[in-house]
């Protein structure tokens, strides 16, 4: 009983310390503009992100048209090998969804690097990137 109470107090203390540090560290100032609500990850961009992460050129050629492929190349620069594409958030305006991902991998010199990708999803399809 006594050991459990001590452990509980210790864990509560750690939680308090993390909260205090969080409050003390610099935070972004308030946004002076209105914000749109965040929405769930669209299926179309999730599928495309999965294909990019799988490094599957044949499948990518099937799911992305030439315009999208043309835009995707520069958006992924300087990544040569991609090992992770992670969804971070999305928002919608009049049926247009901007869905954001962070792609991590290696550049041509073998250095680890990450880039931000924002897919534009409209009518259930990815119609653009960045």
């Amino acid at each position: 009983m006594k050991t459990a109470l001590t452990a509980l107090l210790f864990v509560a203390g750690v939680g308090g310390g993390v909260w205090a540090q969080n409050q003390a560290s610099p935070q972004a100032p308030a946004n002076p503009y209105p914000e749109l609500p965040l929405v769930a990850e669209p299926t179309a961009s999730r599928d495309l992100a999965a294909v990019i992460q799988a490094d599957d050129p044949r499948r990518l050629a099937q799911v992305a048209d030439s315009d999208l492929l043309g835009a995707l190349g520069p958006a992924l620069q300087p990544l040569q090998d991609i090992f992770e594409v992670k969804f971070v958030g999305a928002t919608e305006r009049k049926g247009d969804i901007l869905s954001a991902y962070v792609a991590s991998g290696r550049d041509t010199s073998g250095q680890n690097f990450s880039v931000g990708l924002v897919f534009r999803v409209s009518g259930g399809k990815v119609v653009g990137v960045n």
Partner: protein, 135 residues
């Protein structure tokens, strides 16, 4: 009884100290774990606001030092863009810290001088307090 309370307080205080120090030193590393996520960096926020409010000085401070002509061009472009569009909304989509790089993404609604509205994304890459990439 009093001794038990003192021991309890000391235990909680020790935990708080540990939590504070570990989060302080390990904060950037912790953000690399998906569980902890990544919150908006103040520098990225200031940069995007500087862009929307046409403040070339803010952008210059938050960018790696460029040559004279590039900095001049930044001021010139800012002057040309004055009054060309008006921001309607700014939404932080999210971000992530990976290997010392902070990637932060935004969705911006703007209205042009002719009344046309656009919904555009921005991705900022932050390293050592400077925006090293803007897409």
């Amino acid at each position: 009884m009093r001794r038990a309370i003192m021991n309890g307080l000391a235990t909680a205080l020790l935990g708080a100290l540990l939590g504070y120090v570990v989060t302080g030193f390990g904060g950037p590393m912790l953000q690399e774990f998906p569980f902890f996520g990544s919150r908006e960096a103040p520098e990225a926020h200031r940069y995007i606001i500087g862009m929307l409010q046409n403040e070339p000085e803010t952008l210059a401070v938050l960018s790696p030092r460029a040559d004279l002509v590039s900095r001049s061009l930044q001021f010139q472009q800012s002057k040309l863009a004055q009054g060309q569009w008006q921001p309607l909304s700014l939404t932080y989509l999210g971000g992530r810290t990976v290997g010392g790089l902070g990637i932060h993404m935004y969705a911006i609604e703007i209205r042009g001088a002719q009344g046309q509205e656009q919904f555009v994304p921005f991705a900022l890459t932050l390293a050592n307090g400077k925006i090293i990439r803007r897409e």
